[in-house]
């Protein structure tokens, strides 16, 4: 394999990690509420701006990360309390419309507060520099993205598999009514799922800013939609599927740009969403998803 291809694979792995981090939260919320959360991508933006603010205060790196994660979780909780919980039990489409409204509200609030001008993201000293790994060259940010994503996925696995909340979440995803019947605290579990998923997205926002160097109020929109594509690719509602889909999408996107003539690279986003429509045609349940049973 040529060095060029290896380099592209590394880039794909980096991008795929970011998509996976966002897609996980998307999938978590979907699996419980059957709700597509349009505002999920915007929490990435919230995380990036929280990082900007925390960095301006000048704390150690772990404090910045803590602030980002906390603000993401809080934003997720706020979204659930303000827009999702009051509307629970209404038709499914009401939920989409509500999350869309939340997304528009968050984006425009950020526009008012920070203006639409992109801001440079101060990459900390810690993350600067490059490493030579055999034939490929990796920036430190790339490695931090990939490795910390794997670590977080491991943490998530433990939480979902073995913690009380994880068990409750799986019960809810399986059958919300039955879970309530056997005494699972539905409200708290849903809130926890929102907090957890949003914290992941906010952390992805920090990484996104560090990797691409700038942040703006609308930065979360495209990654949010792509995270949904990743979920569909992996199988909507399956956590493993979201991760797999995220990595496949990241790789496919990077290879699309890297292997085709430069004239096509402007078509990158068209490729992703055209792929979504084709995917829905030929593989509607994704790679790991199960067909949704129909309930009367």
């Amino acid at each position: 394999m040529s060095a060029y291809l290896l380099q592209q694979l590394l880039n794909g792995l980096m991008l795929g990690s970011l998509y996976a981090l966002v897609a996980i939260g998307f999938s978590l919320i979907y699996s419980i509420l059957r709700l597509i959360n349009f505002a999920h991508g915007d929490l990435l933006m919230v995380g990036a701006f929280a990082a900007l603010a925390a960095a301006a205060l000048g704390g150690p790196w772990w404090a910045v990360v803590a602030i980002v994660v906390a603000s993401g979780a809080l934003a997720g909780i706020a979204v659930e309390r303000v827009a999702i919980r009051p509307l629970r039990g209404m038709p499914q489409v009401t939920g989409f419309i509500a999350t869309l409204a939340v997304s528009v509200a968050i984006e425009n609030l950020a526009l008012i507060l920070f203006t639409g001008q992109p801001r440079t993201f101060p990459v900390p000293e810690l993350l600067r520099g490059q490493l030579e790994l055999g034939p490929v060259r990796a920036t430190r940010v790339d490695l931090v993205i990939i490795l910390s994503t794997w670590l977080l996925l491991l943490v998530l696995l433990v939480v979902v598999r073995w913690s009380r909340f994880g068990r409750a979440m799986r019960a809810l995803a399986d059958n919300l009514l039955a879970a309530r019947l056997v005494g699972v605290d539905v409200d708290r579990t849903i809130l926890f799922a929102f907090a957890l998923g949003s914290a992941f997205a906010a952390y992805a926002g920090l990484l996104w800013g560090a990797r691409f160097g700038q942040v703006d109020p609308l930065m979360g929109f495209a990654p949010g939609l792509k995270a949904f594509v990743a979920c569909v690719l992996g199988g909507v509602g399956s956590l493993a599927g979201a991760v797999l889909g995220g990595y496949l999408l990241g790789l496919a996107e990077v290879l699309f740009v890297g292997l085709l003539p430069p004239a096509y690279s402007g078509l990158r986003d068209a490729f992703v969403f055209a792929a979504l429509i084709l995917l829905l045609l030929f593989l509607p349940n994704g790679l790991l998803g199960r067909p949704e049973e129909e309930r009367a």
Partner: protein, 359 residues
């Protein structure tokens, strides 16, 4: 007959308004009126796609973009085509179409695109359509941006002939209203509302859900394509991002505020939202708080969903427009599934002619 008379009166009153504005007010007011009327047409057509069927399409801006570019390219002056769109095939490069055929082709192109997307996405349960149509907006924008030999890419197409005036827009709104009204009050419309209320029940009484959803989606796309085409001939310029996600959101807001399935509600909400955001614009600019009006609209929508989820009108139309002989009462045009007659619900599978006009 009362309903028809009321409709006629409404159309005449609107015509009087257009004439008055054109006579007495500034060109700005005339443009504003045309754009508001266009939003009314878009919102009413989205009411058929989304409100009657319970689907959630965000695709109108994508179809408008397609319609706008198709019509702009077809009607562009031949002598400037070689310079502006060097890659056009000779057939197109050497012809200059008139307005009506160009708009029809634009609507057809949008409808075809909707057919392809609809066939792929509508077989799945509801929620995929929202994201797929949102993605479609991005696909269309990216393609238009990159096919610069046909579209001038990010520069946008300017100098498109101004072939429409407020009266064209007026005629279009009246036509769209008429079509949507007839659809809603036909057996198809009742079958759509039945499947929105309970898909399984509707299916078991013989409603062909997929066919109806596809019809509603393609119909909305055709209207949006024509609207995009007419708008481009009104303002004479179009850019790849002219019709984007904010517009998709605004249209959804109009449908929700108006009430899922109410054409009158959508039209009223379109006027309200369009005028409100126009009124807020100077405030936004003087305070340099860009995004204020959108944020307010979003908050208003959330409040509406929470405290009055059925919108202003629910699924109903004002009694005056419906006329006296409407089924089951003066103001209710929303059949609950139980009330739908067997004939009405079987219409999905056996394409019969729509019911005779009810008024």
């Amino acid at each position: 007959m009362r309903g028809a008379a009321a409709h006629l009166l409404l159309a005449l009153a609107l015509a009087a308004l257009v004439a008055l504005v054109q006579r007495a007010l500034s060109p700005y007011a005339v443009t504003l009126l045309s754009l508001v009327l266009m939003q009314v047409a878009l919102a009413v057509s989205l009411q058929v796609t989304n409100g009657l069927t319970g689907l959630f399409s965000l695709g109108h801006p994508a179809f408008m973009t397609v319609g706008a570019y198709v019509s702009a390219i077809l009607t562009y002056p031949v002598r400037r085509k070689g310079f502006m769109m060097p890659d056009l095939p000779p057939v197109l490069a050497e012809s200059e179409w008139a307005l009506v055929p160009a708009v029809l082709v634009a609507a057809l192109a949008a409808a075809l695109l909707a057919l392809v997307v609809g066939l792929s996405v509508l077989r799945l349960k509801g929620h995929y359509l929202a994201v797929a149509t949102l993605g479609l907006i991005i696909v269309v924008r990216t393609l238009v941006n990159n096919l610069d030999g046909y579209t001038r890419g990010g520069l946008g197409l300017s100098g498109v002939p101004r072939l429409t005036d407020p009266w064209t827009v007026y005629a279009f709104v009246v036509l769209v209203w008429y079509l949507c009204w007839r659809i809603k009050h036909s057996s198809y419309g009742r079958a759509m509302m039945a499947m929105r209320e309970n898909e399984l029940a509707a299916r078991s009484t013989g409603v062909d859900v997929l066919a109806l959803q596809l019809f509603a989606f393609v119909f909305g796309a055709a209207v949006a394509g024509a609207a995009g085409a007419l708008t481009v001939h009104l303002v004479s310029v179009v850019t790849p991002g002219a019709y984007g996600i904010p517009l998709a959101f605004t249209l959804v807001v109009m449908v929700v505020i108006g009430g899922q399935g109410s054409l009158t509600g959508a039209a009223l909400a379109a006027v309200l939202v369009a005028l409100a955001s126009e009124a807020l614009r100077p405030l936004e600019e003087s305070l340099e708080l860009y995004g204020l009006s959108q944020a307010l609209v979003a908050v208003a929508l959330l409040l509406m969903l929470r405290f009055r989820p059925q919108g202003l009108f629910g699924s109903r139309e004002p009694g005056l427009l419906v006329g006296g002989s409407n089924l089951g009462g003066s103001s209710s045009a929303c059949p609950s599934p139980a009330r739908t007659t067997p004939r009405a619900v079987s219409a999905g599978t056996a394409p019969s002619t729509p019911d005779a006009p009810r008024s």
